[in-house]
Symmetry: C2
Subunit: 103 residues, 2 copies
DNA sequence: CATCTTCGTAACTCATGACTTACCGTAAGT
DNA sequence: ACTTACGGTAAGTCATGAGTTACGAAGATG
């Protein structure tokens, strides 16, 4: 749910591959697993982590389960990085300023 | 250098704490370590990972080394998430659309 | 020169987590 | 009711990496 969980979830290459495969739309578990070099149970475990982190949503349709990217989860991460980027820029320009004043 | 390395680097809580401590400006290694519950060598190793990932820059000043957040590295991550967010929103609105049409 | 500070590196331990196989529940088809 | 398809869970293995202590290199200081 927090952005920390989202970052930790996206740190794994397999989980990033799953998210990439969902960029074009929702997909069932088996279809996701077919496109990856890991077993279906492994995919299930990754899907759980991604869902717990708020990055994915799940919708049951019969025996199938459709997973999709959750805009809210991605946005939480986005906002954190925006804030970090703002501070980094401020420090950067301030450092450049004080360096100029030393001349 | 790539956004993958940046995500992996920020996945660790200690490394996020280091980045947080640099939000207000550049600091030497010892000062960073004093604010954390881990040893100075551990901080050094984390600083290496963060620097390799392009998230930090290092400037030597005598025996001291000043680390600071690198705006470029953060921006690379930011852009990745922006693109992911865009796709997620598109899928979300498309799904909502096709659900409406089913009524 | 001797010493102290500052920091990086080496070697090692130990916990975490990614993956596998095996199994179980549930919904659809015959 | 039986079987098949889909997918989550359990238990176990194994590699990765975060942390430690010990040591070494390089610049400041007396």
């Amino acid at each position: 749910m927090s952005y920390e969980d989202a970052i930790a979830a996206l740190a794994d290459p397999s989980r990033r591959a799953i998210v990439e495969s969902l960029r074009t739309g929702a997909r069932p578990v088996g279809e996701i697993a077919d496109g990856l070099p890991i077993s279906r149970p492994a995919v299930s475990q990754h899907l759980r982590v991604l869902t717990d982190a708020g990055l994915l949503t799940c919708a049951s349709s019969g025996t199938k389960r459709l997973y999709a990217i959750s805009p809210e989860g991605v946005d939480a991460l986005r906002r954190y990085l925006d804030s970090l980027w703002g501070d980094a820029l401020a420090c950067f320009s301030e450092a450049a300023q004080s360096k100029k004043e030393q001349l």
